[in-house]
Amino acid sequence: MIALFLGLALAQQSPSEADYRGHVDQARFFVRKGWYADAAAELELALADENGRLDGSAWYLLSEIRYRLGDIEGAMQAADRAHSNSRTDEELELAAGFSAWLRDQFGLVQVRTRFDGVQSAVEIELQTLILDPDLKLYLKDLGGRLAEPATLPIEFGLPVGTYRINDRDVEVRPHETTRARIPVRGAAPEALQVTELEASLGVGLWAGPAARGHLPGPAGRIGVTQPVGPWVLGLAGDWTTRPLSTPDGFRSATDLGAAFRVGVEAVRFRDAAIRAALSGRVARIAGLGLPCTGPASGVACAQGVTPTVWAYPNSLAVVPGLELSAVVLDRRRTTAIGWGVRLIGEAAVGRRPGSGSARMGPDEIPFTIDDVDQPFLLGGLRVLGTVVWAR
């Protein structure tokens, strides 16, 4: 029987009215559970409806929910709409009362730091006595939310009174917006989970029997680093050009490579972080010389032969390494330029090509290499200065 009456009652409502009331009922359910954000979302759906828009009680409920969520300005606006859509004197009194209470008891505070986009915790210390438990609980909730670093500037409502916000005195007056520049607090490197683009330039060196005659030369790298929680992942492309001493004089050899790395931030102090990473690189290493002998139509190369000619083939190598870096970056900003130093120790394990052709003057001379001389192992070191752009 109850179901029958309920069905009749629903049938008497227009579909739109039934829909918006459903959202309001759902919002009330969420309020009872304390899920205010969900309740606000339901009410906004209800108030998007043409009938819901005229429902003062829905606006009033939204105003109280926005208050619970710390959105004082939104609560005032909703209370004003509740006032405009009140149907009885009692509704009018209630909406006007809440609106006036919000205006009398709260002011808005906008906090910023020297640069926009900085992340910071906002610590609010009440300096005056507040004799309203609701306002104290509001402050407690707000303090909890602002303890987590947020991107500044932000605006929030505070009960009228005096405060210290991140050690700056702030006086909040009713229905006024107070602007305060505050120092950054609660620097948390993990808070800056943003991509870092980096360009590095420095010196690189290979050492080992296969790299005889190689001298230190300029090295560069372009990379991207992505912090993921405590991990630091990176991809890079690198280049090194080294002077090479040959029987014919100095020449240059240019290496190219592509690398990935996985690391952690080992030490953090303020804006500085020391990162340790394991890296893997695939590189083309140039200029590893071998003595060769034979006619101009084709030479054979092997260690220990009396050379009539030297061949310097390009070789592919896998280069595992250990990378230490020190990076200084304003880690409370979502956009920042920093700098750092990288020290990369690595070992190249590679194999020369079994045959190929070498350029000698205008001619190409084919060569072959004895099997036993194809593998090689090199130790390497690179020291790079880095510019980091985080965004």
């Binding site: 209630l94 006007a96 009362g97 809440f98 209470w101 008891q105 004799l131 306002l135 104290k136």
Partner: protein, 349 residues
């Protein structure tokens, strides 16, 4: 001219009527700590309604009501707010706080405590009889939330936290709490089947100590300004006539009766200084005079021309003592329908 007990004209003190409300008896005047503000209640007996007013000693009172918001129901949205109930039992905070606490009915006709626009205690069960400690740090109040009447304590600095239960005397309801001047302890009445007796809580974390053990009612204790004595009203079992007593604040102290037949004041006896009090003598032939009595037992009537006096409030000012009280009217006045509010100034010798 000064008598042994006050300075002023011998004939009559200058009396000023500062408030009256048509249809209501005014009652329970109460001065703020510095005497610049005065609260009183208007009792509409026929409607069972009490209104609370706050003004100055010169009048101009404004009605104090619980805020509309406090009468709303958050999860229900708009529901009935047109509700006239009771607002009463105002207690002042010390001057630096510029506040007061009072009790008022909510939509369910239950009593909650309010400070300004805020409900500071919202709980099923009547809450009332609040007293603000002289140092401003605490509010004590009586509550029926546990089923018995017990005293609870609010730490003003942590006003958002639930109040702490202070007393739970078996088979008794605790009420009429009053602070010692140093704010360290308080006195109260335990209302039991064998009588209403005074208890003393020397410290807020200590155990209460029984001060009186009589079969009648011992009511409305109030500390002397130096905190050494307590004045209160008491009667014999079955008697409707109360007398004014004083006793030292220590267990086993013997109470001394200062005045027979007094009219009970809900705020308790009004101390003028460490050794004297004002009270209203229950003497119809003398129109219920306001009298000053000393702890040594001396008595003299204040030369006031009001009749049917009740409910005294006293505050010391830079120039002397300011007194407020309610009375049916003045002797040569024509209007004696409802009790009005009067004030005068005294100079003590």
């Amino acid at each position: 001219m000064c008598s042994a007990l006050w300075c002023g004209p011998a004939e009559a003190l200058e009396v000023r009527e500062i408030a009256h409300v048509e249809g209501a008896h005014l009652q329970s005047p109460s001065f703020s700590e510095d005497g610049t503000q005065l609260a009183w209640e208007a009792n509409f007996h026929d409607r069972k309604v009490l209104h609370l007013y706050v003004g100055t000693p010169k009048g101009a009172g404004q009605r104090v009501e619980p805020p509309v918001r406090a009468r709303s129901s958050f999860s229900k949205g708009f529901e009935g707010t047109g509700h006239e109930g009771v607002a009463h039992e105002l207690a002042w905070a010390p001057r630096y706080l510029n506040a007061f606490v009072y009790s008022a009915t909510n939509l369910e006709d239950d009593y909650d405590l309010y400070v300004g626009t805020a409900a500071i205690v919202r709980s099923p069960g009547a809450d009332g009889g609040a007293a603000w400690s002289p140092d401003g740090g605490y509010i004590v109040f009586a509550s029926a939330r546990s089923g018995d009447g017990d005293l609870y304590l609010i730490d003003v600095a942590k006003i958002e936290e639930p109040p702490r239960q202070l007393t739970s005397i078996p088979r008794a309801s605790e009420l009429h709490a009053t602070w010692s001047p140093d704010s360290k302890g308080l006195a109260f009445v335990a209302h039991g089947t064998s009588g209403d007796n005074l208890w003393w809580l020397p410290t807020l974390d200590g155990a209460p100590v029984q001060l009186t053990n009589a079969k009648g009612s011992q009511l409305h204790p109030r500390f002397s300004p130096d905190g050494h004595r307590i004045a209160y009203y008491a009667n014999a079992p079955g008697s409707e006539q109360f007398s004014l007593y004083v006793m030292d604040v220590k267990p086993g102290s013997t109470p001394r009766r200062l005045l027979d037949a007094v009219i009970v004041d809900s705020h308790g006896p009004a101390w003028l200084d460490e050794v004297s009090l004002l009270a209203v003598a229950d003497e119809d032939d003398a129109f219920d005079p306001v009298v000053r009595v000393t702890v040594a037992g001396e008595r003299s009537n204040l030369p006031l021309d009001t009749v049917g006096n009740r409910d005294l409030a006293v505050v010391r000012t830079e120039t002397g003592v300011r007194v407020a009280w309610c009375a049916q009217g003045q002797r040569d006045g024509l209007k004696r329908d409802f009790r009005r509010l009067y004030t005068t100034e005294l100079s003590l010798p």
